[in-house]
């Protein structure tokens, strides 16, 4: 099969880091804080690499939008098995306000330019939890979408996607080209082995600007304020069920 897969990878604050809100409440502290690839993006890359190992896909292109540092994230994808990378340069204020709408416009433009047959993304990023980019990209391209995928198989030129939904698992068949977003149980990402880390050095990363793709990255949203969640107050223990009902009535809950 000669399919080309586009995989989006996002550089986010590492999941294990203690997040702190900036003193001016405009966002969270990112300077000097450890960043890594979004865990759901890792799962997306792993799925693409497995498809390539099964010879169902010919080339994997890893894409990331952001400043110079996102090249690290692309290199991680290359070390896991992606063939080449595309760094879409967005920095400064544009980067701070970059959101799903802008990224999906970029992904759609790249999908057309690279003649991609499949786009795999993480279902959401762990910093903004938007869960929108995959869906918006599919809509802009007018492609079918298989979101929250926990299983992905190619069957006779179509994609069978098992989706994790509130009621359980839903299986759908969609045509290619399509957009798939990876959920937690799709796979367990491999460790980037040292030989592959060294090989990744030689793989190419192309630089591109949003304007080159005809995309305007101005945001239509303005963040007014960022606050920590309210401190959880201690609970109260009661002795009997009657006490519990009494307290609930007292506070007007029932």
């Amino acid at each position: 099969m000669s399919a080309r897969v586009l995989v989006g990878v996002k550089r986010v604050i590492d999941y294990a880091v203690k997040i702190r809100v900036k003193p001016d409440h405009t966002g969270v502290v990112t300077d000097g804080v450890k960043h890594s690839m979004n865990p759901f993006c890792e799962i997306a890359v792993e799925e693409a690499v497995r498809l390539k190992e099964k010879k169902l896909v010919k080339e994997i292109v890893a894409v990331s939008c952001g400043p110079q540092q996102v090249q690290e994230t692309i290199r991680t994808a290359l070390a896991m098995g992606a063939d080449r990378g595309i760094h879409v340069e967005v920095s400064g204020k544009d980067y701070e306000t970059l959101g799903p709408l802008q990224v999906s416009k970029i992904m759609a433009a790249l999908a057309k330019k690279e003649e991609a047959d499949l786009i795999i993304l993480g279902k959401q990023a762990i910093d903004d939890d938007c869960n929108q980019t995959g869906q918006m990209t599919a809509a802009l391209l007018d492609w079918p979408q298989g979101t929250f995928a926990s299983e992905l198989t190619l069957e006779g030129g179509k994609l069978k996607v098992v989706r994790e939904v509130d009621g359980g698992l839903e299986t759908i068949m969609i045509n290619m080209p399509a957009v798939v977003t990876a959920d937690l149980r799709l796979n367990t990402p491999r460790y980037a082995t040292l030989p592959n880390i060294m090989k990744a050095k030689k793989k190419k990363i192309a630089n591109v600007k949003p304007a080159d793709l005809g995309v305007d990255v101005t945001s239509r949203l303005e963040v007014l304020n960022v606050d920590e969640p309210a401190q959880r107050l201690a609970g109260v223990k009661v002795e009997t069920v009657e006490d519990l009902v009494g307290k609930l009535k007292e506070s007007g809950r029932i």
Binding site: I19, R20, V29, A79, D129, L184, A200, K201, P229
Partner: protein, 431 residues
């Protein structure tokens, strides 16, 4: 997959249905935002005298393996007095971390020693000293001479599977009667036809109870003691080899240390590494790398202990204030951190010179000397600030206190390091 990582990942999945807050609500918020960001290990395009992007990518990948396959089980393995060497070495070997500076033809990556140092530093993130020590034996103590001087046949039989993590190696040098005085070892290998017959024994053998082969230093002739020894690749399942006992130790509990006896053990003469009689010299050459490796490893551990002490003393209160607020505490920790940085500079300088082909015996010996002594200082001071909690078995600082004491003794005692330095300073008594 490790339970902790699984929990974290599952918590990410639950995220979906939670309302309100603008930004990530599944992470842990600190009580107040302090003025400067805490320096978690940042790899953001910083200038580094020794490391490149690849070194950092290597560290990051190795860290994942440690977090998922090793750290969740350390407490259990420390209790059991052993860790599953074959299992862990296979995981590391498959990812390429056991043969970083070994030849490509034998499964290695053919990279320079700075990459080995990066691996050693990252392994310091393991929550005990025993497992990194065991890994170090496998990757940088039992194999360097074999990689440099061994025959192709020997390398195929012993080096390749060791690098791939399929077999476990150990190093047989020290004996009950000879530690610092390597030249006075008694184990003898007598030539009989095309075999050596070995009698004697070895002590302090890390990985000894699990090893498939030993890099053995033995006397192979009656020549003067610096010229009569050879390194031999010894399979550990040969008749006559007896693992006498697993030694109970003050620290490094998860590393099995054995006493081994040889009773007329027969091994082919072709199992000698390189030239017969050159064993002592080869062993000395191995030491430079072994010592720098040990320094790199303990540096990360010392920093971790200092950081954990800061975290603990920040929240622990005495006389209505955090322990950390008392000047003696934060000043002492600053002193320790200063010395850690100094040692790191020495390590990186020695490594940079070494990969250019220089002999760094003096600097490596100085670094090892300092590392052992500093680790004792860090352990002692930090333990003090942990108070009663520091004395309990559930905390990292007490394990570090026990484990790190070995640094001044093993792989060349402090006194041996001092002798080497004095030799270079030309201050030893003249004949």
């Amino acid at each position: 997959m490790a339970l902790r990582a699984k929990v974290l990942r599952l918590s990410l999945a639950v995220n979906r249905n939670l309302p309100k807050t603008v930004f990530c609500n599944k992470r842990y918020f600190s009580e107040k935002s302090s003025s400067n960001p805490k320096a978690s290990v940042s790899t953001e395009n910083i200038d580094h005298v020794l490391y490149t992007e690849e070194h950092f990518a290597l560290k990051s990948s190795l860290r994942k393996i440690i977090d998922q396959e090793i750290n969740p089980y350390v407490d259990q393995w420390e209790e059991e007095g052993q860790f599953p060497a074959h299992k862990i070495f296979k995981i590391l070997g498959s990812a390429g971390f056991l043969g970083v500076n070994k030849p490509v033809e034998y499964g290695g990556l053919g990279l320079d020693f700075s990459y080995s140092v990066a691996v050693a530093e990252e392994l310091g993130n393991i929550n005990c000293g025993g497992i990194p020590m065991a890994i170090g034996v496998q990757s940088d103590m039992a194999t360097p001479a074999l990689a440099r001087f061994g025959s192709a046949e020997l390398k195929r039989e012993f080096l390749l599977p060791s690098v791939m993590g399929d077999i476990v190696a150990c190093l047989g040098v020290s004996e009950t009667g000879a530690g610092s005085d390597v030249a006075s070892i008694k184990t003898k290998a007598v030539r009989k036809g095309d075999e050596f017959v070995i009698n004697g024994g070895k002590m302090w053998t890390t990985n000894g109870t699990q090893a498939d082969w030993m890099c053995l230093l033995a006397n192979t002739s009656d020549d003067p003691s610096h010229k009569n020894k050879s390194l031999i690749c010894l399979p550990m399942d040969l008749p006559g080899i007896q693992i006498a006992r697993k030694i109970g130790k003050m620290g490094m509990w998860s590393s099995d240390t054995a006493e081994v006896f040889f009773d007329d053990v027969r091994v082919p003469c072709k199992n000698v590494i390189g030239q017969e009689g050159m064993g002592f010299t080869y062993q000395m050459l191995q030491f430079q790398e072994e010592r720098l490796w040990g320094v790199a490893n303990i540096l990360t551990m010392m920093e971790k202990v200092v950081q954990e002490t800061i975290n603990y003393t920040r929240q622990r209160k005495i006389f209505k204030q955090p322990v950390l607020n008392h000047q003696v505490v934060h000043f002492r920790l600053a002193e320790l951190q200063t010395e850690i940085e100094l040692l790191r500079s020495l390590l990186h300088r020695a490594t940079a010179l070494y990969i250019k082909g220089n002999d760094v015996t003096k600097l490596a010996s100085m670094a090892k000397l300092k590392a052992g002594r500093l680790a004792r200082g860090v352990g002692d001071s930090c333990l003090q600030y942990w108070g009663g909690m520091g004395f309990t078995s559930g905390v990292l600082v007490s394990r570090f206190y026990r484990d790190s004491r070995l640094m001044s003794i093993g792989a060349g005692a402090d006194e041996v390091m001092l002798s080497i330095i004095c030799k270079y300073m030309d201050t030893l008594p003249r004949k």
